[in-house]
Symmetry: C2
Subunit: 157 residues, 2 copies
Amino acid sequence: MNRIAFHPRRTVEDVEEGRLLAPKFDDAGLIPCITSDADSGEVLMLGWMNAEALRLTLETGEAHYFSRSRRNLWHKGTTSGLVQRVVEARIDDDQDAIWLRVAVAGSGASCHVGYRSCFYRAVPTGEKAGGALAFTESTRTFDPVAAYGDAPNPTQL
Amino acid sequence: MNRIAFHPRRTVEDVEEGRLLAPKFDDAGLIPCITSDADSGEVLMLGWMNAEALRLTLETGEAHYFSRSRRNLWHKGTTSGLVQRVVEARIDDDQDAIWLRVAVAGSGASCHVGYRSCFYRAVPTGEKAGGALAFTESTRTFDPVAAYGDAPNPTQL
C-alpha cells in the first residue's frame, strides 16, 4: 500500500485553492472529523483523527479515529462490527477539518450509547430556548452492552 | 430575553441520557459546531463556539461562533449578509459537540472563500489515495472581496 504524503502548508492560496492535501493538526496532533450517513445526510458523529488515523482512513477507505479518552488509534467497528465505509472524503477551506460521508455496516448505528447518530437530542432554540432536550430517536438501534461488553465508557465528565 | 443556564455535568448517565443541557467546553473554552444546510443536508462548515456564542445561538436562533483567528465573538452574516437561521440544534452523546441545521440567507453560501460549503474539495481514498484533491464546486457562489473587503483572511498556516 502506498503511504499518503501530507504536504507542507506554504501559502494561504495553496491551502485554500490548491489540489495538495496539507491538513492542519492541532496542538494535540489531532484534526476533527465530521462523519455523516452518505444516504440520509444525517450527521452521525464528530470524531478526532491523528495523522495515522487520517492516513489509514484514506488508504483503506474505512474510518479510523483517535480515541481521546483511551489515547489510542481506533478502527471504527472492530469491536461493534459497525464499520464505516468511506463513500466520499472531503476537507475544508483551511484544511483543518475532515468530512466523511460513509455507509455503516450492520445496523447502521454509529453511537456508543446505542443510537444511530450520536446527535440524538435536539436543543430548544428561540422562544423555547432553555427548555429540556428532546430525544430525536426513541429507541436504541443496538444493545451497547452486547456490542461492547464491559469496555470502559468513552464519555468523560 | 431569558439567559440559558448550562447545567453541571454530574454523571455519565445524566450527560448521555438526560434532558439537561450540560455542554463540555475544551481547555480553550470552546465547543466544536457542525453546521449543515437544513434542506440539502450538505455540511457547510465546522465552527467553534465559546459559552456566549452557544447561548446567543440558542437564544436568538441565529448562528454565532467564536473566531479562533480573530479571537472574538462572531455573528455569522454580520459582514457578508449570509446569516444562518437555525432550523434545528442538536447535541451529541457526551455533549461536547453541537450540530446546527440551518437555512442560509442570501446566496446560501457559508464559506469565506466564496463557495457554498467550506468542504468544496474531495480527498481521494482507497486505490486513488494520495492523488490530487478534486473540487466539488466549480464556481464561487459569491465574491469574497465584495463581501468582506480587505478584512483579514481567517485562514492560518
